[in-house]
C-alpha cells in the first residue's frame, strides 16, 4: 500500500484533469443536480473518515451521529454566538472529536459484534437526546436559522461558490486523511487489524491507536456535518438516523474498503445510480437493496476491484495472450 503511494507525474496529470473537470461540471448542471453535487462532496468526506475508523478492523455504527454532533455544534454556535464559518467548522470537528474521546472509554472496551451494537446504542441514545431536549436542540423539528455564510463578499447561498468552498475543504481533509493513513500511525492501524497479537507483542498499545482512529475519524466527519448544515440552513435528528449510517456503510462496502479511493468510488457511483433510478419512485429502495446484495455476492472486494479483474481477464499491458482462465 505504501509502496505506490508517491506523487508520480502520471498521477499529478490525472489529478489535474479530474480537478479541472470538477471545477467546470457544476456550471452545466441544473439547480437540483448542483445541490446533489454538494451533498456528494460532503458525503465523500463522511465515507473517507469512516474508512479511517475501520482501518483497525472495527466497524462502528455511530459515524452518522458524529456527523450530527458537528452539525448541531455549528447550529448552536451560529444561533448563540453568531460565529463565522472559519470558526464553526473546526469547532464542529473538535466537538465531534471530544464526544468520541469520551465514548472511547466505554465503547472501545468492546470489539467486533459487540462494538458494532454498542456504538449503535450510544449513537441512538445521543440522537434521541436531540429529540428529547426541545429547549436546547429543538426536538424533532431541529434547529434552523443557520444562514448561508458570506465570505469575501461572495454569497454562499448560491450553490456554485459553496460547491467550490466545500470541495476545497473536503480535498484538504482528504489530503490529511491520506497522509495519516500512509504515516507511521496509519501503518500501525493496519498492523492492529491484520496482526493484532503480533502488533501488541512489539509494544503497540492497540487501545490507544483504536481510540486515535476513532477520534480522528469523528473529527473529520464532524467537519462534514458542519459543511452540510451551513448549506442546508437547518438540522434535524432525522438526518442522522441509523438509516443514513447504513448508507455510509453501503457506500464504503460496495466501493471497497481495502483501498483509500474505494469508498469514494462507492459513494460517487451509488449516488449517480440512485439518481438515475429516480423515476421508479416507490421501487427505488428495492432496486437499491437488490443491487447491494448482488454486489456483495459477486464483488466482495468492492467496485475498486473491477479494473483489476478486467485487467487480469485480458492480461496487463501486453497483448491478450490466451482466453481468460475461468476461475481466475
Amino acid at each position: 500500500m505504501s509502496s505506490n503511494s508517491g506523487f508520480t507525474m502520471q498521477r499529478m496529470v490525472v489529478g489535474a484533469i479530474a480537478l479541472a473537470a470538477l471545477l467546470t461540471v457544476p456550471h452545466f448542471l441544473s439547480f437540483h443536480h448542483q445541490d446533489l453535487l454538494i451533498f456528494l462532496t460532503i458525503n465523500v468526506l463522511a465515507v473517507c473518515s469512516y474508512r479511517l475508523v475501520t482501518l483497525t478492523g472495527e466497524w462502528s455504527l455511530i459515524h452518522a451521529v458524529m456527523m450530527g454532533v458537528g452539525a448541531y455544534t455549528v447550529a448552536l454556535l451560529v444561533n448563540h454566538f453568531d460565529l463565522a464559518i472559519w470558526f464553526t467548522l473546526p469547532l464542529a470537528g473538535t466537538a465531534a472529536g471530544l464526544v468520541a474521546a469520551l465514548l472511547c472509554f466505554p465503547l472501545l472496551r468492546m470489539t467486533q459484534f459487540y462494538f458494532l451494537i454498542g456504538s449503535f446504542a450510544a449513537g441512538e441514545a445521543i440522537r434521541l437526546t436531540w429529540v428529547e431536549f426541545v429547549g436546547v436542540f429543538g426536538g424533532t423539528s431541529g434547529l434552523r436559522g443557520v444562514e448561508a455564510p458570506i465570505v469575501f463578499g461572495i454569497d454562499f447561498l448560491d450553490p456554485i461558490p459553496y460547491f467550490y468552498f466545500s470541495l476545497s475543504i473536503v480535498l484538504l481533509c482528504l489530503f490529511i486523511l491520506y497522509r495519516i493513513e500512509n504515516s507511521r500511525v496509519g501503518l500501525t492501524l493496519h498492523a492492529i487489524h491484520w496482526k493484532s497479537a503480533l502488533a501488541e507483542s512489539v509494544g503497540v498499545d492497540a487501545w490507544r491507536y483504536r481510540a486515535l482512529a476513532f477520534i480522528l475519524g469523528s473529527f473529520f466527519v464532524g467537519i462534514a456535518g458542519g459543511l452540510k448544515i451551513h448549506y442546508l440552513g437547518s438540522v434535524t435528528p432525522n438526518q442522522f438516523t441509523v438509516g443514513f449510517m447504513v448508507f455510509i456503510l453501503i457506500w464504503v462496502i460496495v466501493g471497497g474498503y481495502n483501498k483509500f479511493y474505494g469508498p469514494i468510488i462507492g459513494v460517487v457511483v451509488l449516488t449517480i445510480f440512485d439518481e438515475s433510478i429516480r423515476s421508479f419512485e416507490v421501487l427505488r429502495p428495492a432496486i437499491y437493496g437488490a443491487m447491494l446484495i448482488l454486489s456483495i455476492l459477486f464483488l466482495p472486494l468492492g467496485l475498486e476491484s473491477v479494473p483489476g479483474k478486467i485487467k487480469s481477464w485480458f492480461g496487463i499491458g501486453s497483448p491478450p495472450p490466451e482466453p481468460p482462465l475461468s476461475d481466475q
Partner: protein, 258 residues
C-alpha cells in the same frame, strides 16, 4: 450462529402484513392467517439462508449488509401491497376483557398472545436444551469445524436454525398485528428492542433473553409513564451499553472464549 439478521424486524412486519391482508381484507380466519404468515415468513427466511447467508458465511459483515438489502426489498413490497397510506389496523378477533380480582384487566386478545408466546417459548426452550438438535446447534455455533468433524451436518443445522427463528418472527408478526399499527417501517422498533433484549440477556441464552425481555418491558413502561417514551428508550440504550461494558456476556450468558 454468527449471523446478524438486520431484516428480522421486517420479517415480523411481513408476518403482520400477511394477517392484515388475509384476515382483515380477505376475511380468512385469524388462526389460518397466522399459519399462512408463519409459512410465508419461514419461506423468506429459508431463501435468505440459501441465497445470502450461506455464500457469505466466511464474512459476517457481508451477511449483515445482505440482510439490509432484504430489509429494503421487504419494505417496498409491503408498501406496494398495502399502499403508502395511513397505518393499517387489524380488528382484534377476540373481544372482551379478562377481569381478575377487580384490579387486573387484560383484553382477551392479549391473553391469547401471551399464552401462545409462552407456549412457543417453552417449545423453543425444550428444542434448544433437550433435543439432539439443540446440542448440535450449540456445537456448530461454538466451533463449526469441530462440529463438522463430529459428523454434524452444519448446513442442515443452519437451515433449521434460520427456519425456526424466522417461523417465530412470523408468529410474532401474527400475534402483534391486532395490537399495533401496521406499516412498512414498523420493523425498526422491533429490531432496536430485539437488540437490547438479546444483548442484556446474553447472546445465545434463551432464558436470559426472556428474563431481559420481561425486565426491559417493565422498566420501559415505568419510565415511559413517569418520564416519557424517548427518555425510556434512551435509558434502555444506556443500560445496554452498561451491560456490554460490565458483563459483555449478558445476564445469563455463559462465558464465551475469544
Amino acid at each position: 450462529m454468527g449471523v446478524v439478521n438486520f431484516a428480522h424486524g421486517e420479517l415480523v412486519m411481513a408476518g403482520a402484513f400477511t394477517i392484515w391482508l388475509l384476515h382483515a381484507q380477505f376475511g380468512l380466519g385469524y388462526i389460518p392467517a397466522i399459519a399462512a404468515a408463519i409459512v410465508l415468513v419461514t419461506a423468506i427466511g429459508l431463501l435468505m439462508e440459501r441465497l445470502l447467508f450461506r455464500p457469505t458465511r466466511s464474512d459476517p459483515l457481508a451477511g449483515l449488509i445482505c440482510s439490509i438489502g432484504v430489509l429494503f426489498i421487504l419494505q417496498v413490497i409491503a408498501a406496494l401491497i398495502g399502499g403508502d397510506g395511513p397505518s393499517k389496523q387489524v380488528p382484534p378477533p377476540f373481544h372482551g376483557t379478562l377481569v381478575m380480582f377487580d384490579v387486573l384487566r387484560i383484553p382477551y386478545q392479549r391473553v391469547f398472545s401471551l399464552i401462545i408466546s409462552a407456549a412457543a417459548l417453552g417449545t423453543l426452550w425444550f428444542f434448544l436444551t433437550r433435543s439432539k438438535f439443540g446440542w448440535a446447534l450449540r456445537a456448530v455455533a461454538m466451533d463449526r469445524e469441530a462440529a463438522e468433524l463430529q459428523g454434524i451436518n452444519t448446513d442442515r443445522i443452519s437451515v433449521i436454525a434460520i427456519g425456526v427463528g424466522t417461523a417465530l418472527a412470523g408468529l410474532a408478526g401474527g400475534l402483534i398485528a391486532p395490537l399495533t399499527n401496521i406499516n412498512p417501517h414498523m420493523g425498526h422498533n422491533v429490531i432496536v428492542t430485539a437488540f437490547i433484549v438479546t444483548i442484556v440477556g446474553g447472546v445465545g441464552s434463551l432464558s436470559g433473553a426472556v428474563l431481559a425481555a420481561i425486565l426491559y418491558a417493565v422498566f420501559h413502561t415505568l419510565v415511559t409513564v413517569y418520564f416519557g417514551g424517548t427518555i425510556a428508550t434512551i435509558s434502555g440504550l444506556v443500560l445496554m451499553v452498561i451491560v456490554l461494558i460490565v458483563k459483555p456476556t449478558g445476564l445469563m450468558g455463559a462465558k464465551v472464549s475469544e
